[in-house]
């Protein structure tokens, strides 16, 4: 109990320093963001940082609450059931459009009103720097000649980077041997130890080892090259029309009044443009990508359909 008090004091101190009070009708109390994953993960860190800079633009504190469990289902179900008054939001990330195809959930993306997209990170394949493949075409040539022989690690069965690997496989017309690990860290470890041939990851996973020359980006599924590695071409440049990645944004329960959505959107957009947040995001090497409510909604709808087809194909 004492510990909670200490943490509470520390947090309220921070909040009270950074939040001046404006008079406005909508936020009359703090706004909470439900993160359906454990504290300390990439999603959690990004939205904690965004919450810290958005409070002053919204006029009330933004609080992050973790509701992990059920591969995200627990948190999404809870937000779906919350009153649509703008005080309970949820971090809408790619798995929101994947999970409903895999298990029977009470929600889909349609149970939520989109507010803003914050981050979009491309998917990529890494190999060890001593591997024989120098570019994506050599890699795919080998895969074509040896179907099912190249082992590709991912961060969890049915998760985002696993599906990216499956979609890439389909586009390129090859067959990999997919090995699931419990997270991006363990899959990169297995690659470093030479236990798998390649891994499907999303930045910042493995980036440090690429910098240190131990690993190489063999396939980058982005629209344009990384600022950090200007020499690494995208697969699109090498003749394979494939881009795919993961996004992270915010949504509210269905039926939240449009003017409340607009107020939230405007505040979070300013929070995103705050130099402190931009620096935090850069430090975490995530790729900021703003989308308004309408475009974000279209993105979710598109991916929902896309993943639905993909998941059906795997289940065959």
């Amino acid at each position: 109990m004492l510990k909670k008090v200490v943490i509470g004091l520390v947090l309220s101190l921070i909040v009270s320093i950074s939040v001046p009070l404006f008079a406005a009708e909508f936020p009359t109390k703090e706004v909470q963001i439900i993160i359906p994953w454990a504290a300390g993960g990439a999603t959690d860190l990004i939205f904690r940082a965004l919450a810290a800079t958005t409070g002053k633009y919204l006029g009330k504190a933004v609080v992050v609450v973790n509701r992990p469990g059920g591969a995200g289902a627990v948190g999404y179900t809870e937000c779906m059931k919350a009153p649509p008054d703008g005080y309970t939001l949820v971090s809408a990330i790619t798995p929101l459009t994947i999970l409903p195809h895999q298990v029977s959930t009470a929600f889909t993306y349609k149970s939520f009103d989109p507010i803003i997209n914050v981050v979009r990170d491309p998917g990529m394949f890494l190999v060890r720097s001593d591997s024989p493949w120098k570019n994506v075409n050599e890699f795919l040539d080998y895969a074509k000649k040896n179907p099912g022989m190249i082992t590709v690690g991912n961060s969890g069965a049915g998760g985002g980077v696993h599906l990216i690997a499956l979609a890439f496989e389909k586009t390129a017309g090859v067959k990999f041997n997919h090995i699931p690990f419990a997270g991006g860290g363990p899959s990169v470890t297995a690659l470093l130890g030479g236990h798998v041939n390649a891994v499907s990851v999303s930045p910042p996973e493995g980036i440090e080892h690429v910098k240190a020359g131990k690993l190489r980006i063999i396939a980058l599924f982005a629209e344009k090259r990384f600022e950090l590695f200007p020499d690494v071409p995208t697969v699109k440049e090498q003749g394979i029309d494939f881009t795919m990645g993961q996004w992270r944004g915010l949504a509210a329960p269905k039926g939240t009044p449009p003017d409340v959505i607009k107020k939230l959107h405007d505040a979070f957009k300013k929070g995103m443009e705050d130099p402190v947040f931009i620096k935090n995001a850069k430090d975490m090497s995530v790729n900021l990508s703003y989308l308004g409510p309408e475009e974000f909604g279209k993105l979710m709808a598109h991916d929902h359909e896309f993943y639905g087809k993909l998941v059906k194909e795997i289940k065959k």
Binding site: K3, A39, G70, A71, V103, A157, N177, G185, H195, N280
Partner: protein, 508 residues
Amino acid sequence: MLESLQNLANGFGIATTIHNLFYCLIGAIVGTLIGVLPGIGPIAGIALLIPATFGLNATSAIIMLAGIYYGAMYGGSTTSILLNVPGETASVITCIDGYQMAQKGRAGPALAIAAIGSFIAGTLGIFGLVFLAPPLAQAALAFGPPEYFSLMIFGFIVLSNVTGTSLLKALMMATIGLIIGTIGLDPVTGDTRFSFGSVSLLGGIEFVAVAIGLFGIGEVLINVHQPKELLDQRVIVPRFRDLYPSLQDLKRSIGAILRGAGIGFGIGLVPGPAPVIATYSSYMIERKISKHPEEFGKGAIEGVAGPESANNSSCQSAFIPLFVLGIPFGPVTAIMLGAFLIHGVSPGPLLISQHPELFWGVIASMYIGNFILLLLNLPFVPFFANILRIPKRILLPLIILFCMTGMYTVNNSIFDIWMMLLFGALGFLMRKWAYEGAPLLLALVLGPKLEVAFRQSLMISHGDFGVFVNRPISMAFLFAAVVFLSIPIIRIIFKKKGGEGNRDKVKG
């Protein structure tokens, strides 16, 4: 070697600035509190405090967060010893003999030896971290899925009968643990298993709920079950001179502490539930080599000193893969990685050369932090030991309340509280009929990892079982497991008397 010492000296310069000393102290205090409270562990504690470090520079932030981690290892033993409630997963084993010591009025020596052992092992662990980090991290990479599988099999066979009572009952409990471990999403295909449509069961059953339920709640229920007179009567008042360990206690413990430090350091390097395996192994070894194994389970001080030392040194060596490879091997270091990233530092092969001030500053702060923790913990021993003076009719409801709030803070989930109470009822029945909880918990931790490693190995090898015996490290573990299994059989065949061979005896 000399360069390391030179760098370490610079690190002390950084760690001893007033600013950093202050954050080291805060980390140590918060860590101790988190460790003392059941349920909430270092993972939740660090995660909650990361936002509080936004305004600090990276070095101070990491110093504070690392302090919470190893501080929690100190505090974790307190409730295990006093109340039979594991403060966090690494102190499950401490319940066995620590609680028995407390029931005999020796809570003071148990608490003190846990702090002393933690200090010695923590300090030795940091030495290992300074001098051995880069080569050890490379060695850890040799562990792929097949090696990991064989290690788990070995651990399973050797550790499942950790308390050495009835092998049959231990295996029954381990089987239940394995079954419970399959609940939730299938780790390879993502299908749901045994969740019966419940969203709360998709993520599996929370380990902490099982641990607190079986040990803490089960113990409370057993107490309530006693005749009324006994409940009022058995208030333990520790004698003052018994508050700290005697010379005899220290002599008995020092070997256990050093062995525990070694075991913990080695196992901390292996990905996965290192503190659990390290503490179980240390307990097992102490019981096997002890001159008086009959005392184990009834309040042997080595049974507290060894595992408590092991969990502290495993916590230091767990930083090696994080610092050198930038890869967290366990959930706590995964949270630490998040903290590094948010401060613009990416741990990895370039960390030591690019951020020497951070690396050496944090290492030096760990020496200081361990010393602070020893000074912080020892004076509290009499205070904590006196908690047992509270009459049981008041203490027992408080423990339940304490467990419930602690449980809630882990995932903010009411469902977890129900699970904890359910396992409390199971724990009560198990205690009543002399079934041990430790093998069940071990199986619950190892089972899912074992399954994943097994399936990953076979996927990589395209279904060829040879992958487990063709690789030297994996082969060695399997061979050791076979040898261990065959010892009792060989004994029965060659020895005439069956005295040692069949150790099954019903307890209590």
